[in-house]
């Protein structure tokens, strides 16, 4: 069991309780020990940065300083919310990159008797830790109920793969980490073309029409690919796609009903946890039907399966880039 510093973020206490519960449920069997930062504060989301840059970074840095104080030999902060993850990573990055800026933020922290050493801690998202630290083998060991037959659209949103200061993801636009994790759970993973497109972010609050447009683009694309469930890694994405799906439907006179779940919820199901302990039922678009299919492992109705296109002898496609291509380039 290795320990990590845990920064849950405000949503985990309110709108994303399901995420909190399921994170706790899956970390245990994977050997991820989470030590919550004591007395953490809000990361300011994207809002504080808009208002006042220095206080915004000071607000974030207080959490980093607390984490450094309480680190107890641990080096990694896990943040399950993409916005929190990026804010923490960003503050660390700029404080390290721009020494004058780092000193300024530390001067502010000093007013509260605190200090953070830039670069001391690694800020990572839970997904990255599961893929790159724990490893998929360990995940596979824990799978007792493979998610066979469940067509999942993996959806990462923006702030996890971009700008990716730590270069932890395979790509800034089409990373395959979540796909690989879901495949390891036995699910049928769709190559979701909009997997890192925007969920609308705070536009649901300040310009709903634009937000509905973005949500519509995602949901309709997922629907066209016969998606059973959209899986997210971020409370904001989950909220926008799930809670606003109804309003978006009203706006566009459509009737989409695609459940949106956290990846940890599905991991929990695959690990054999009870649905109730994973926060199921708190979603607006019910996932009960989709999940019930997995639980009874009913084979998928034939008509739902994607119709295999008859291959005409067309022109050959270029081969897809492999992991080795990436590593070879890094060496060049």
């Amino acid at each position: 069991m290795s320990d990590y510093i845990f920064y849950p973020g405000c949503s985990m206490e309110s709108s994303a309780k399901a995420y909190y519960e399921s994170v706790m449920a899956v970390c245990k069997p994977l050997g991820i020990g989470l030590k919550e930062i004591e007395d953490w504060n809000c990361c300011g989301a994207t809002e504080y940065l808009s208002l006042d840059i220095t206080p915004a970074y000071a607000l974030i840095a207080r959490n980093l300083a607390l984490a450094e104080e309480q680190a107890n030999g641990n080096k990694t902060i896990i943040a399950p919310c993409s916005a929190c993850y990026l804010n923490l990573a960003k503050a660390d990055h700029y404080m390290h990159d721009d020494k004058a800026f780092g000193n300024k933020i530390n001067e502010a922290l000093a007013a509260g008797g605190m200090h953070y050493t830039p670069g001391k801690l690694a800020v990572r998202h839970l997904l990255d830790v599961i893929i790159n630290e724990v490893g998929l083998d360990k995940v596979k060991e824990n799978v007792v109920k493979p998610l066979a037959g469940l067509r999942i659209a993996p959806y990462l949103g923006c702030m996890l793969p971009r700008p990716d200061y730590g270069k932890r993801y395979s790509d800034t636009e089409h990373p395959d980490e979540l796909d690989r994790l879901l495949s390891a759970l036995g699910a049928e993973v769709i190559d979701f073309p909009l997997k890192t497109h925007c969920c609308g972010g705070h536009m649901t609050q300040i310009g709903p029409d634009t937000a509905f447009e973005m949500i519509h683009r995602l949901i309709s694309s997922a629907d066209a690919l016969n998606t059973d469930v959209i899986v997210t890694v971020c409370p904001m994405c989950q909220m926008n796609l799930d809670a606003f799906q109804g309003q978006m439907n009203n706006h566009f006179k459509t009737n989409f009903k695609i459940p949106v779940l956290f990846f940890t919820q599905l991991m929990g199901i695959a690990f054999g946890e009870k649905a109730e302990s994973l926060g199921f039922g708190s979603e607006f678009v019910s996932a009960a039907e989709a999940i019930s299919r997995v639980r009874v492992q009913a084979p998928k109705p034939a008509e739902d399966a994607p119709v295999a296109k008859k291959k005409t002898p067309g022109l050959p496609m270029p081969p897809l880039r492999t992991k080795t291509d990436h590593t070879q380039e890094a060496g060049r």
């Binding site: 405000c10 206490e13 309110s14 709108s15 309780k17 399901a18 007395d39 504060n41 809000c42 300011g44 994207t46 809002e47 504080y48 940065l49 808009s50 208002l51 006042d52 840059i53 220095t54 206080p55 970074y57 000071a58 607000l59 207080r62 990055h93 700029y94 990159d97 721009d98 800026f101 502010a108 000093a110 007013a111 509260g112 605190m114 923006c158 702030m159 971009r162 700008p163 990716d164 800034t172 636009e173 497109h197 925007c198 609308g200 972010g201 705070h202 536009m203 609050q205 300040i206 310009g207 709903p208 634009t210 973005m214 809670a243 606003f244 109804g246 309003q247 009203n250 708190s282 607006f284």
Partner: protein
Amino acid sequence: MTDVVSVLDPHTSHTKREDSILLREVSLRTPGESHVDMCIQCGTCGGSCPSGSAMDHTPRAIFAMLRAGMRDDVLNSNTPWMCVSCYFCTVRCPQNIHITDVMYTLKNMSLEARKPTMPVASPPPTAWGLKNSSIDPKKYNPTAADFSKTFIWMVENFGRSFEIGLAGVHNVRHFITRLPNMTPMAIGMLTKKGMSPLPPKRIKGMDQLGKILQRAKELESS
């Protein structure tokens, strides 16, 4: 005889010096090396922007305006406020300009230009009452800034945010006509998600946080 300069568009009368001052100010206020002066006007940012349709100028145009020293036009623009921080522009920019971070800086500057009449750490007013400023309140969409302010008001008072209160306050203020539409969702939040309509408990280090933020604000304005 008419002075030639006076018949020209006011922007053409900017001296080169003024232009570079604006660009440099943005560059200095953005953490790290923002490369804001390196724009080649290719439009990758404008093409990538998911909320581009809601913007009055594309980000690319904003960079051109910064270079031209068109301060008021930039700070009146809704462009930075429509930014959803998706970072598509930042990772795709061929000149490595930290566009999303520059947008944050522009939001800061835009608010600062309105500061005399605008208290920060309280639920802000919806109208700005700008009298002695060249900033035109009519051209400006205060919704986004207001949302940020409401959010921060909560953070500065509780140390944490709570979505339902935030959304409630915000929507009553700005989208009163949408409320009937919103009601089922709000009820859903309370019942399905089991969310509490009450503000969160204050963090223990509220005093400490207050001091830190106070100092940070002083540093910001110095």
